[in-house]
Amino acid sequence: MNVRYLAGRDPAELLDPAAPFWKDSRPEPLRLVGTPSSLQPTAAVRAAWPDARIGAIGAVTVDAVHDGTQLAFRLEWEDPSEDRAIGDTTVFPDAAAVLLPSVPGAPVITMGAPGVAVNAWYWRADEERAGRQVVAEGLGTTRTVDHELVRTHATWKEGRWQVVIARALRVDSKEPVAQLRAGESTGYAVAVWEGSRGERAGIKSYSGNWRELVLAPVA
């Protein structure tokens, strides 16, 4: 996917899923599949979640722009139920994340490996605009490294989520997070969790192996 360069945007505009500039692009459609049951980290989760139950959301479209400083992803998918709040102990919110390698060649399917981290920019419907910056070095090792650098904005309209997830290309962090530069390319993957089906943690749909993400140079 090519990430268009847009000169000097207001951060609020960049976060707006309805901003006019999204209209002139061709978002990339991605097929999503459920994460394999056999890869879930605990026997209890594997027993409760056979493959057939995992992966409620089968498709998402992805688009992205950057302004030389900020990179914004826009995800859109069909979801008849808007699950925002955790109203009850049995209720889970919708969520989505963009995954980037912190280190080239980090494996997607195992969420990184020791010493080769992956970096997720994570949105959850009950957490308003503050996204999470998450680092993982293997299954079950994800940790939120900050709650400030990733910004999100989501709207749910007519059975569709439109979610923008943004972060600065380069950030000041001691953690193994992705550091990006205009004009370069990296990989990306996407995951979506369907709250109404109890999806959370490793129970999600994802886009498979890394796809190419080419950041246009600053013109």
């Binding site: 605990t42 209890a44 989760v45 027993a47 409760a48 955790i86 102990t89 049995t90 299954l139 490793g202």
Partner: protein, 334 residues
């Protein structure tokens, strides 16, 4: 911990001791890490015994999440109106909003059986700090730990992301979800007290002297004597496969009465099958031992077991964790 069900009077002092100490923050309103329910009964959360979880033949058995209604919401009462509104002689105390249909002790004292042979007993419950903790083993984030030194099972709230796999997996349904902090929480066996040699609040506050505390393998302490030596204390639902570390001395009800009102010793008032369904088949042997020792004392003899269960010396019930909490300078918690 061992709890002697023959001594529990269902006063809920343990419940309130725990509530005041640990679950007073926002998001914890509906939590009762300690509950006391009337048995037979549906329990807390409602029908928890049918919610699955734990292990069957060593394999995790899928469980179901209880809802907040199953636990029972923390009700808001019209205190203002009754106590401060000058209406005290007209309005009565009632729950604000929608009428509740369940609460943590909803079927109190109902029990089962027909007059004059009705029966019930109280079952206090906390987290069992299991040897094979289904909660810990279900968590995909290793957010639950079992302390090496004493086996206390704790949730690390910094690692917990509120996924509630533990809540599904715990067959005793002793995990609560904090809707404010969005993390799971549970009984901590008063570990800050234990670390200072002080028994749990539920045990110290219990006016019935129901609860014994101590290390399982300390042969001079009551737990080993009751569980391993006398074998009169048994885990609840051993078939759930988690190997609880809370044990119960099973209840012996008064004898049955026949149609003419005479004592009928031919069968027990609490059906054996019911106790077996709760504590497994070993409960019958435990009851025999208890009855035998009771008969001994009734005949004027002495019984070491009865002396132990009576708890003549209160402090001896705590297996060395008998320091007075008032003698300690506690650091104010965060």
């Amino acid at each position: 911990m061992v709890m002697d069900l023959n001594k529990c009077i269902g006063c809920q002092t343990c419940t309130m001791a725990c509530k005041r100490l640990w679950t007073r923050d926002e998001g914890m309103e509906y939590m009762w890490w300690n509950t006391v329910n009337t048995m037979p009964g549906r329990g807390t959360p409602r029908d928890w015994e049918q919610m699955g979880g734990g292990f069957a033949d060593g394999q995790p058995r899928p469980g179901r999440l209880p809802t907040r209604r199953d636990f029972g919401e923390a009700w808001d009462f019209n205190h203002d109106e009754v106590f401060f509104g000058g209406q005290g002689d007209k309005v009565h105390l009632q729950v604000k909003g929608e009428a509740p249909d369940w609460g943590p002790n909803w079927d109190e004292d109902q029990g089962a059986g027909e007059y004059p042979n009705a029966y019930y007993f109280y079952l206090p419950r906390i987290c069992n700090h299991c040897t094979h903790p289904a909660c810990l083993e279900a968590c995909p984030r290793q957010a639950i730990v079992k302390r090496e030194e004493d086996g206390i099972v704790l949730i690390d709230e910094d690692r917990c992301r509120g996924y509630r796999f533990c809540m599904e997996a715990c067959p005793y349904k002793k995990i609560y979800f904090n809707h404010q902090k969005k993390v799971s929480q549970k009984c901590i066996f008063c570990f800050p007290r234990i670390d200072q040699g002080v028994a749990t609040a539920c045990a110290r506050q219990c006016p019935g002297r129901v609860r014994f505390v101590g290390y399982r393998d300390d042969q001079s302490a009551p737990i080993w004597k009751l569980v391993d030596q006398w074998k009169v204390a048994l885990p609840l639902h051993p078939e759930f496969g988690t190997e609880p570390n809370v044990f119960y001395v099973p209840p012996i009800a008064p004898p049955r009465l026949d149609a003419d009102g005479n004592v009928d010793e031919s069968k027990p008032r609490i059906p054996d099958e019911y106790l077996v369904s709760l504590f497994g088949p070993d409960v019958l042997r435990a009851l025999e031992v208890l009855k035998g020792e009771m008969a001994k004392t009734r005949a004027g003899g002495r019984s070491e077991l009865m002396d132990l269960l009576i708890g003549h010396k209160w402090k001896d019930m705590f297996g060395g964790f008998d320091r007075d909490p008032a003698s300690i300078e506690w650091e104010k918690g965060a």
